[in-house]
Amino acid sequence: MLKIHDLQAGIEGRKILRGIDLEIKPGEVHAIMGPNGSGKSTLASVLAGKKDYEVISGTVSFLGKDLLELSPEARAGEGLFLAFQYPVEIPGLSTTIFMKTAVNEVRKYRGQEPLDAVAFLKMMREKMALMNIEQSLLSRSLNEGFSGGEKKRNEIFQMAMLEPRLAILDETDSGLDIDAIRIVSNGVNKIRNKNNSVLVVTHYQRLLDYIVPDFVHVLYNGRIVKSGTKELAFELEERGYDFIKNDQPLEQGA
């Protein structure tokens, strides 16, 4: 599904990712963990195609296509979804209208007919029930005045609507209490299947109690320095990131 090879990238002339190698197969859940400043969010942003970030070298293929060649909206059309750490507010635009537009733009990209209002409503109703989200939230201005929990639930609802092949959750647990984490995780788990994959980017292990990963990778200083199963996450939780830091050789040529 996703193959990252020796990806190096940065922002404003500063190199942050220093050679990432990662492969995600259909149906798998991968978690990327790491201390602050290790490059977790940069990786998520680069994969989604945020303009501010510059790819220095390396390749990323997504479902056989060169991901780095595609515009952000084409990446979405191919089935890549990013749940934002800080969802953006758009005053006056309801989630409903936003999603109707997004769903039909993605359908257009895939050569499908747009959904009419009735078909869209039916789909929305199903996903609302699935995600346990109330309609009042979807009629309000997108993310405007939403609580942290509402914003993240809205992200997951959007993910359910767009049915991505690969969902990247960028610190979706940050700022959420344990109940909100449970709700959001349930949403993610409900739409997992053998054809789609999830990449969970998080600082803490606790999210992984609910979204159980097949693989855990530790990102440090722009590189994946350790990979393992979910046990690795427990080890990190117990011992902190310091044991990783102490394991590392002195940085070369930075």
Binding site: P91, K100, A102, F120
Partner: protein, 499 residues
């Protein structure tokens, strides 16, 4: 989940989604769409303005003597003011040569059509191109349309149904001939020819426009609508609209405007007067899409318009809603004189400027009666090298006990070469007044665009979504058919201004 809880969403979807925001096609997002010229033979006055021109127009319209006298008086007034165009607006344009304009141009058609079916097929095609097939509108929307091309009113649909209710909806020329008592009583009572330079000019040479009279206690069952179009070259359009709502009546009126693309500037100087008696309500909506000039600022309409309403009776209400996307220059301040106690004035505006367009627009709310209320919501969107100014006056008279005003002026900037300005004037002479003013200026953020992109929405559509969101409070005031058109217009006007 039962279906009732979904009703609000369904309505919302009907209103906004089906406006086609998601399917704004490239073809629609092209340059000025209404720039075609219809090849119709025209009956014209020679260029220039003198007493002879005024007499020519009056005689073309078969006007009675008193009307000619009224016009000539206005013309002399204008002569006195000549060279004294208002200079206070935040607008820059070369002097207008009033002798280089044709003041009358009528499509040559032998007789005034009795029904729409008799209208010249070429003209009918013009309206079809505008997307307002009169027949279609008649049948599907129940909107009564009065269409004014260049200087003459082409035909008013739905007349019979309206006249059964005692509603008069016709061209102002016809009203001058058929209903002189109403014209004499009300014409220029809200905007006298002495009001300003362009009002004087309009009074002297206005060639047509709409007239609407709603009798006591009648709720007009359909939206009344006028489409204005300037077709002939070097022509000014000077229309005059007069709407009277008698005690306890209600009317919603729509006005739309387009013009062909021409390299030279064309002048449009209209006057609109609204009169609301006790417990009456007038809702006046405009979607103005006059040709704005090309990308380099060549050509386009100079739009100098005086629109004013009076809430003459107690508990009356006048509401202006405007979506201004066109014109090279817009100078326009739809205002309300709140004379009746407990009367309400509203002004909802979206003004878009792109390329080299300039807009100086806003409102005046004059609180005279007691317990009067006014609400101003102005949304300015500037892009390219354009300049967009809000200019508003809230005046509270000494006797106006407990007046309330709320003003909100928001500006959205696209790019860094455009300008947004706010000129609020507040004059309060009664201490019991409560006047609130809020203003914001924002830019479309890269992060907003990226968020939309990540959901599969391209930048062009993302901008359309964001500006429609920004303008939503005003758009919601528009009747459905207009809201759809207005949303598309916003997107078209800002084509290519981001990314």
């Amino acid at each position: 989940m039962n279906s009732e809880t979904f009703e609000p969403v369904r309505q919302e979807l009907g209103k906004e989604v089906d406006a086609g925001l998601s399917t704004i096609e490239k073809t629609v997002l092209s340059d000025y769409k209404y720039g075609f010229i219809t090849d119709i033979e025209a009956d014209e006055a020679p260029k220039g303005l003198n007493e002879g021109t005024v007499r020519f127009i009056s005689s073309k319209k078969n006007e009675p003597e008193w009307m000619l006298e009224w016009r000539l008086k206005a013309f002399r007034q204008w002569q006195k003011m000549n060279g004294h165009e208002p200079k206070w607006a935040n607008l820059k344009f070369p002097p207008i040569d009033y002798q280089d304009i044709k003041y009358y141009s009528a499509p040559k058609q032998k007789i005034k059509a009795n029904s729409l079916d008799e209208v010249d097929p070429e003209l009918r095609k013009t309206f079809e191109k505008l997307g307002i097939s009169l027949n279609e509108q008649k049948r599907l929307t129940g909107v009564a349309v009065d269409a004014v091309i260049d200087s003459i009113s082409i035909g008013t649909s739905f007349k019979e149904q309206l006249s059964e209710l005692g509603i008069i909806f016709c061209s102002i020329s016809e009203a001058i001939r058929e209903h002189p008592e109403l014209i004499k009583k009300y014409l220029s009572t809200v905007v006298p020819p002495t009001d300003n330079y362009f009002a004087a000019l309009n009074a002297a040479v206005f060639s047509d426009g709409s007239f609407c009279y709603i009798p006591k206690g009648v709720r007009c069952p359909m939206e009344l609508s006028t489409y204005f179009r300037i077709n002939a070259e070097n022509t000014g359009q000077f229309e005059r609209t007069l709407i009277i709502a008698e005690e306890g009546s209600y009317v919603s009126y729509l006005e739309g405007c387009t013009a062909p693309m021409r390299d030279e500037n064309q002048l449009h100087a209209a006057v609109v007067e609204l009169i609301a008696m006790e417990d009456a309500e007038i809702k006046y909506s405009t979607v103005q899409n006059w040709y704005p000039g090309d990308k380099n600022g060549l050509g386009g309409i100079y739009n100098f318009v005086t629109k004013r309403g009076i809430c003459a009776g107690n508990r009356s209400k006048i509401s202006w809603t405007q979506v201004e996307t066109g014109s090279a220059i817009t100078w326009k301040y739809p205002s309300v004189i709140l004379k009746g106690d407990y009367s309400t004035g509203e002004f909802y505006s979206v003004a878009v400027t792109n390329n080299y367009q300039q807009a100086d627009t806003g409102t005046k709310m004059l609180h005279i009666g007691k317990h009067t209320k006014s609400r101003i919501v102005s949304k300015g969107i500037s892009a390219g090298h354009s300049n967009n100014s809000y200019r508003g006056l809230v005046h509270v008279n000494r006797q106006a006990e407990n007046a309330r005003n709320y003003s909100q002026c928001d500006s959205l900037l696209l790019g860094d070469k455009c300008g947004a300005h706010t000129f609020p004037y507040i004059e309060v002479k009664n201490a019991s007044a409560v006047v609130e003013h809020e203003a914001t200026t924002s830019k479309i953020g890269e992060d907003q665009i990226f968020y939309c992109n990540q959901r599969g929405i391209n930048t062009e559509t993302a901008v359309a979504l964001i500006i429609n969101g920004f303008a939503r409070e005003v758009m919601n005031q528009l009747p459905m058919e207009f809201a759809v058109e207005a949303q598309k217009l916003l997107a078209i006007s800002l084509e290519g201004s981001v990314g």
